[in-house]
C-alpha cells in the first residue's frame, strides 16, 4: 500500500508537467483552432531560459552582489523566465501562425513543427551538444509520512502547478481578457466582428501558454536537473495527446488528462516492465478515444470546425 502511495506522489509530480504543457496546447486551440506544435520546444526553451536566469542569479548571489535566499532566487527565476519565454511564444505566433490563420490547418501544423526544429537546432548551435545541469536551488529534504517518502521538491512542484492552473482558471473566468478568450473559442468568425481584437488575444494566449510551459520547464529542471535540447519532443507530443484527450479547448480537461497520463505512465511502469510503458499508455489512450471520440470535455464534431 505504501508502495502505491509512493507511486501516487510520483505520478502527481509527473502528471503536473504534462498538465502544465497541455494547458498551452489547449488554450491556443480554444482561441485559434490550431495546435501549436512548437509548444514542446517552447517548454525546452523555457527550461533553458530558466537555467540561464538561475545560473546568473546564483553567481550574482555568490559574488555578493545581491544577498538573496535560495527560495527567492527560485521565485525570481520562475517569474523572469515566464516573462522572457512569453516573448518566445509571441514570436512563434507572429512568424508561424498569424500569416497562416486562413490557410488549411495542416499547413499551420507544419510551420509549428518546423519552428520546433529551428528552436532545437538553434539551441544546439548556440550551446553545443552537451547537457547542462540545472543549479540546485532547493536543498532536498525528505519527509517520512508513514512509510511514504515525500521530498519538499515534489510537494513544491505539485503545489505550484495546481496553483498556476487555478490562477489560469480564475483569469479565464473572471477577467475581461479571459472573457474575450472564451468568446473567441465560442465563435471564431463573429466575435472579431464585434470588436474583440483577435491579434491581441491570440498573442496573449500564446504568451500565457508559453509562460506556463516555462514554469513546467523550470520545475522539471528542479526535479531532474539535466537539460538537453531534445527534451521538448517527447514531452510536447505527450502533452499534445493529453490536450486532445481532455477535449479540445477545454482547460479543465487538459489538466485532468495531463494528470491521467502521468498516472498511466507511472503505474504501468510499476506493474509491467518499463519497456512496455509507451505501448500500454498509448493503447489505453486509443481505447479511451474509441469510446469517447471527443475526449473528456470536448464537443462533438461540429460544422464550425475548420478542417
Amino acid at each position: 500500500m505504501t508502495y502505491f502511495f509512493q507511486n501516487l506522489i510520483n505520478a502527481l509530480q509527473w502528471g503536473s508537467f504534462y498538465a502544465l504543457i497541455a494547458l498551452g496546447y489547449s488554450m491556443v486551440y480554444g482561441v485559434l483552432m490550431l495546435f501549436n506544435f512548437a509548444h514542446g520546444d517552447i517548454f525546452m526553451v523555457g527550461a533553458y531560459i530558466g537555467f540561464g536566469v538561475a545560473t546568473g542569479l546564483v553567481s550574482l548571489a555568490s559574488m555578493g552582489a545581491l544577498a538573496l535566499p535560495n527560495w527567492l532566487i527560485l521565485v525570481l527565476t520562475i517569474l523572469i523566465s515566464m516573462f522572457l519565454t512569453s516573448f518566445v511564444g509571441m514570436i512563434v505566433e507572429r512568424v508561424g501562425y498569424r500569416p497562416l490563420r486562413e490557410a488549411p490547418r495542416a499547413s499551420a501544423a507544419i510551420t509549428g513543427l518546423m519552428i520546433g526544429i529551428i528552436l532545437e537546432t538553434g539551441n544546439l548551435a548556440i550551446l553545443g551538444a552537451r547537457r547542462v545541469s540545472f543549479p540546485a536551488l532547493i536543498q532536498s529534504t525528505t519527509y517520512d509520512l508513514g512509510g511514504v517518502f515525500v521530498t519538499n521538491k515534489k510537494i513544491m512542484i505539485v503545489v505550484v502547478s495546481i496553483a498556476l492552473m487555478y490562477a489560469l482558471h480564475l483569469f479565464v473566468r473572471k477577467t475581461r481578457w479571459g472573457m474575450a478568450m472564451r468568446a473567441m473559442a465560442f465563435d471564431y468568425v463573429v466575435v472579431p466582428l464585434l470588436g474583440v481584437p483577435i491579434n491581441n488575444i491570440a498573442r496573449m494566449t500564446f504568451a500565457i501558454g508559453s509562460a506556463l510551459a516555462a514554469v513546467a520547464g523550470i520545475l522539471f529542471g528542479v526535479a531532474y536537473p539535466v537539460l538537453d535540447p531534445y527534451m521538448g519532443i517527447i514531452f510536447g507530443w505527450k502533452a499534445f495527446v493529453a490536450a486532445i484527450l481532455g477535449g479540445r479547448g477545454s482547460i479543465l480537461g487538459a489538466c485532468l488528462a495531463g494528470f491521467l497520463l502521468g498516472f498511466i505512465e507511472i503505474f504501468v511502469a510499476m506493474i509491467f516492465p518499463s519497456t512496455l510503458r509507451d505501448f500500454i499508455a498509448y493503447s489505453i489512450i486509443l481505447l479511451i478515444l474509441t469510446f469517447r471520440p471527443h475526449g473528456f470535455f470536448g464537443e462533438p464534431y461540429s460544422a464550425r470546425l475548420r478542417l
Binding site: F240, T275, Y282
Partner: protein
C-alpha cells in the same frame, strides 16, 4: 507615372513570354535528350574537365557539397555545372525540338504505350548514368525514389482525403520488418533466424513477394486507424494515428525475436537501381490511376464535405477504408525497399523524426497532387543531402524554407494539379 510602369510591365512580360514561348514547343522527349546529353558529357568529359578546373572530383550533388566545404572552388564548380548541365539542358532540347516533336508525334500515333515505354527507358538511362558516377549518388537516388513512394502514399490520405494522419512511420516499420523477416528467414544464413530455408538463387525472384507481404501487413495494420476514422476526424484521428505509430514502435522494441531495439541487419542486397525504379514507376502509375478513379474523386468529396458526400451516395466508410489500406500498402512496400537499401532497420528509425520528414515532403510539394509529391520528395531529399556539410545549420535552413513555402503557398508548391501522362508525352507543336 502609371503609364511608364505599365509600359515596363508589358515589356517584361514580353521578354519572359518570349522565353516561355520558345520553350513551350519542346516536348518531354527533347528534355530527356538534353538530360541524357548532360549525363553522357559528365561521364566522358567529366574527369578531364574536373582536372582542368582544379576540382578534386566530379561534384557529387551538383557541387553543393564542394562549394559549401571549400568556397574557393566556387568558380570552378559553377563552370563545371554550366558546361556539363546547364548548357546542354538548355541548348539540346531547343535545337532538337522540331525533330523530336515529329518523332514524339509519330510514336504517340503508333501507340501511347510504346511512347511511354520509350520515355521511361530514357529516364532510367539518365538516372543510371547519373548514379553510376559514385556510390553516394546511387544511394541518394535510391532513397529519393523511395521517398517519392512514401510521399505519394501519404498524400492519398493527407492531401486527397484531407485527414491529418501521423501513422506513416508505423506503416513503413511494418513493411520494413515484414519484408526483412521474409528475406532473412528464407534466403540468408544468419544468427537470428538460422540458416536459409529456401535455395538462395530464388531470392531475387521472390523479393517482390516479400515487398507485397510487407505492404499487406501494413494494410492490415491500417485497419486499426481506418475503423476509428468512421466516427471521428481531424485532431482526434491525428492522435489515434500518432498513438498507432508509437504503439508499433513500442511493440517492435519489445519483440525479442526481431532483436528489439537493436534492429535487424544483413538483409540481402536485392534492391538495385532497376528494382527501385520499377517499383517507383509502378507506385506512381497505380496511385495516379487510383486518385483519378471514381474512388479517388470520392476521397475529394469526403474531404470537402463528408455529410454532403454521404447524401450524394458516396459510401464514405468504404472510401475511407480503401484509402487507408491503399496508402498503407504502398507505405509498406516503400518500407520493405528502404530496409533492403540500407540493409539495416531498427525501430527508432520510424519515430517522430521520420514523421516530420514525410509530412514536410507532402506539404512542401503540394497537397492533392502527384506532381507535388514527386517534387516535394525529390527536392527535400536532394536538399537534405546537398546541405549536409552545413551540419546542424541544415536543420535551420530547411525548416525556414518550409515555413516560407507554407506562408506564401499554404497548400504547397504544386497543389491540386492533375498528373496526365498523355499530355506529358504528347508532341508540343502548335498545329
Amino acid at each position: 507615372m502609371v503609364a511608364i510602369n505599365s509600359g515596363n510591365l508589358a515589356e517584361k512580360k514580353t521578354l519572359s513570354k518570349r522565353i516561355r514561348d520558345s520553350f513551350s514547343q519542346v516536348p518531354l522527349l527533347a528534355w530527356f535528350c538534353g538530360f541524357l546529353v548532360a549525363v553522357l558529357l559528365e561521364r566522358f568529359v567529366g574527369d578531364p574537365l574536373t582536372e582542368l578546373l582544379g576540382l578534386p572530383k566530379i561534384p557529387a550533388l551538383f557541387g553543393a557539397v564542394t562549394v559549401l566545404k571549400k568556397p574557393l572552388l566556387i568558380p570552378g564548380t559553377l563552370a563545371f555545372l554550366l558546361v556539363i548541365y546547364i548548357l546542354p539542358i538548355i541548348i539540346v532540347p531547343r535545337l532538337c525540338a522540331p525533330v523530336l516533336n515529329r518523332l514524339a508525334g509519330w510514336l504517340f500515333n503508333v501507340s501511347p504505350a510504346v511512347s511511354v515505354a520509350i520515355h521511361l527507358g530514357l529516364l532510367y538511362g539518365i538516372l543510371h548514368l547519373w548514379a553510376d558516377i559514385s556510390g553516394y549518388r546511387l544511394l541518394t537516388l535510391k532513397l529519393t525514389l523511395i521517398a517519392v513512394i512514401v510521399t505519394l502514399s501519404l498524400n492519398v490520405i493527407n492531401g486527397y482525403m484531407g485527414e491529418f494522419s501521423c501513422s506513416h512511420p508505423g506503416f513503413l516499420a511494418l513493411g520494413a520488418y515484414t519484408a526483412s523477416i521474409f528475406t532473412l528467414l528464407f534466403f540468408v544464413d544468419d544468427k537470428v533466424f538460422g540458416s536459409a530455408l529456401l535455395p538462395k538463387f530464388l531470392g531475387p525472384f521472390l523479393f517482390p513477394v516479400a515487398l507485397i507481404l510487407g505492404g499487406l501487413v501494413a494494410a492490415i495494420g491500417a485497419i486499426a486507424i481506418a475503423v476509428p476514422s468512421f466516427r471521428t476526424r481531424g485532431d482526434y484521428l491525428a492522435i489515434i494515428s500518432l498513438a498507432f505509430m508509437f504503439i508499433i514502435k513500442s511493440i517492435i522494441e519489445n519483440l525479442e525475436f526481431v532483436r528489439g531495439p537493436r534492429g535487424l541487419s544483413s538483409q540481402p542486397n536485392y534492391v538495385d537501381l532497376p528494382t527501385v525504379f520499377i517499383w517507383t514507376v509502378a507506385a506512381v502509375w497505380i496511385i495516379n490511376n487510383f486518385v483519378r478513379s471514381t474512388t479517388g474523386k470520392a476521397l475529394n468529396a469526403v474531404r470537402d464535405d463528408e455529410m454532403a458526400a454521404d447524401a450524394m451516395t458516396v459510401d464514405t466508410r468504404r472510401t475511407k477504408i480503401v484509402a487507408f489500406l491503399f496508402a498503407a500498402f504502398w507505405a509498406g512496400v516503400a518500407g520493405g525497399l528502404f530496409a533492403h537499401v540500407l540493409r539495416y532497420v531498427n525501430p527508432s528509425t520510424f519515430g517522430i523524426q521520420k514523421l516530420a520528414e514525410v509530412l514536410a515532403m507532402v506539404y512542401f510539394g503540394g497537397l492533392n497532387s502527384v506532381y507535388g509529391s514527386i517534387v516535394g520528395a525529390v527536392s527535400l531529399s536532394l536538399l537534405g543531402e546537398a546541405l549536409r556539410p552545413l551540419e546542424i545549420f541544415k536543420w535551420i535552413i530547411i525548416p525556414l524554407l518550409l515555413i516560407l513555402v507554407m506562408i506564401y503557398r499554404p497548400t504547397g508548391l504544386i497543389a491540386f494539379k492533375e498528373f496526365n501522362v498523355m499530355n506529358l508525352i504528347r508532341p508540343k507543336e502548335k498545329t
